[in-house]
């Protein structure tokens, strides 16, 4: 086969796949911009000649997307910050300090990786009730203040720092906190960044737990809020589509900015070298 034909064939395949992958997203945006009665019309409108942005403001106010997004932002930023902090602190202790029961505690930390949150929802739901936290931010945040997923890779990565760095910092009069803040964290920022993006994505996408512990629009996260939106009538389908766009947009932007960290975080442990 001549090289030019081959190249043309390659592009054809690439474009075909891109169309299939992108079409559901494309048609969502198109439908969000169409008047509701046009969406069900056949043949379908594949390009909105007269885009109608009204659906977005409806989704934002009457669809409560504004409230949902605020909850999601508060919860996600709190969890990410907390998980990174608790993981870095624990990993530092496990790497640079000596203390009784160190191995046992580290094993327990690893053991949490085997207990996904889905398994413990029943007692945790009761705990939230006992604390009086139902439908509050603490219910959405506090159960996820720490993650074994963070402590483990942090320790693996901290351990690769040369021992001499610590010795040198002691000579410079650095205590542990200063060594942590000035040396360990800056030198491991790639790994910490990858974990932060991963943690951000995981908490933004949570569904079952927020569904269990919230029941008002003011506290529902955006993923659970979509469930309310899905129940809208057929004559408001443009609002449903606009709502999904609003729900996905922050993550599209985040991922666009943090592409490198994301790929790192997702493929950590999966690919050799």
């Amino acid at each position: 086969m001549p090289a030019r034909v081959r190249t043309a064939l390659r592009y054809t395949v690439l474009v075909a796949i891109a169309l299939v992958v992108l079409f559901p997203i494309y048609i969502t945006v198109v439908n969000a911009l169409l008047p509701a009665e046009t969406i069900a019309r056949r043949p379908p409108t594949l390009f909105p000649l007269h885009p109608d942005w009204h659906s977005f403001s409806l989704a934002w106010s009457e669809g409560n997307l504004g409230d949902y997004l605020r909850s999601s932002v508060v919860v996600t930023f709190s969890i990410t910050l907390a998980e990174v902090t608790t993981s870095v602190l624990a990993a530092y202790a496990f790497t640079f300090l000596d203390f009784p029961f160190k191995r046992v505690l580290f094993a327990l930390c690893l053991a949490t990786l085997m207990v996904p949150a889905e398994v413990t929802i029943i007692p945790n739901y009761r705990t939230i009730q006992v604390f009086g936290w139902f439908d509050t931010y603490p219910a959405l945040i506090v159960p996820f203040l720490a993650s074994g997923l963070g402590a483990f890779p942090s320790r693996q990565s901290f351990r690769q720092l040369p021992r001499e760095l610590r010795d040198a910092s002691v000579l410079d009069g650095y205590g542990h906190w200063r060594f942590l803040a000035r040396v360990v964290v800056p030198l491991n920022r790639a790994m910490i960044g990858a974990f932060a993006v991963f943690s951000f994505l995981a908490s933004w996408n949570q569904y079952l737990w927020p569904l269990l512990v919230t029941n008002t629009a003011a506290r529902r996260t955006v993923q659970v809020g979509l469930r309310q939106l899905e129940g809208l009538n057929a004559d408001q389908q443009n609002v449903i589509f606009a709502g999904t766009v609003l729900a996905a947009l922050p993550i599209f932007l985040t991922l666009f900015i943090f592409q490198r960290q994301l790929v790192r975080g997702l493929t950590a442990g999966a690919v050799k070298g």
Partner: protein
């Protein structure tokens, strides 16, 4: 000297305390409590006290179709989603592997579904599969009546397709990273030896990326058994329980029937399944670290 050791230990405990406080209250205690709750039978009428029945509730629930049917549905779901997701992700990675003008645009598009969530994807497809107004329902000839999501045979495969689509971005990123780790000189050597393209792929590339394929499979199975959002948003377990997967059943029994005992037994069973899978994955990670150290 001893005082220094004591001070170091105190600092260490202070540093691990925040993480462990959360672990104790929201991981270890509830895990033990779930096992315990599974031993109490909840009476069918609210207000009556639960009765301790020990392991007999485990025996009765785990042999009952209310557990076995959802377990089977979860297994089917995993079989539908995991192999297909890996093969498609790998195929996309192969197509996007070669450097061409504009390839970065295609790579971004291929990864794009990573920015959707399970809920976003489910609501989009739910609306597009609506039997009266949905475009996809129109295209696949499922207009009127219950639609594909209300069809006992096709509802679970349809949910699987939505999940595969939502996961394509992740699968593609994973497989692309694996392909990028295959050394070029190895491929050139194979080409010089006269190996054809497909032969090179199956004899050289696939064995080299097998650790990633295995990782993707295990991760896929683990998350497959934790499927919940798609079911809740697309079918609510229906029609007639045909898409009622394990976690959705736990949710229904606990949240809607308030049968904490039965739900806890099922949660423990789910835990055991996931632990076995996670241990397999850990064993694999250790092997990987070992190989990496050798190379």
């Amino acid at each position: 000297m001893r005082r220094r050791a004591v001070r170091e230990a105190a600092l260490a405990y202070a540093m691990v305390l925040p993480a462990f406080a959360a672990f104790v209250v929201f991981v270890f205690y509830p895990l033990a409590k779930t096992v315990d709750l599974g031993m109490y039978r909840v009476p069918p009428f609210p207000g009556l006290p639960s009765k301790f029945v020990g392991l007999s509730q485990y025996a009765s629930v785990l042999s009952h179709s209310q557990f076995l049917a959802p377990l089977w549905n979860s297994t089917l779901f995993v079989l539908f989603t995991v192999p297909t997701g890996i093969v498609i992700g790998l195929a996309m990675a192969v197509v996007a592997h070669r450097e061409l003008v504009g390839i970065r645009v295609f790579r971004t598009i291929f990864s794009s579904t990573i920015a959707t969530s399970v809920a976003v994807a489910s609501v989009i497809f739910f609306t597009l599969l609506d039997p009266t107004t949905g475009l996809f329902a129109y295209w696949i000839g499922q207009r009127g009546g219950t639609g594909i999501l209300g069809n006992p045979t096709w509802a679970l495969p349809a949910v699987a397709v939505v999940s595969i689509w939502q996961n394509l971005g992740f699968s593609f990123i994973l497989m692309s990273a694996a392909l990028a780790s295959v050394p070029d000189d190895l491929m050139e050597a194979a080409a010089v030896d006269g190996a054809s393209g497909s032969r090179r792929f199956f004899r050289v590339t696939v064995p080299l990326i097998s650790p990633t394929l295995f990782f993707a499979a295990i991760i896929g199975v683990i998350s497959g058994f934790q499927t919940f959002g798609q079911i809740d948003l697309l079918t609510a377990g229906g029609p007639n329980g045909h898409t009622n997967v394990l976690l959705y059943q736990i949710y229904t029994v606990f949240y809607e029937n308030a049968d904490t005992g039965t739900a806890s037994v099922m949660a423990v069973a789910l835990f055991v399944i996931l632990v076995v899978l996670t241990l397999v994955q850990f064993a694999f990670v250790h092997r990987k670290v070992f190989y990496a150290g050798e190379g």
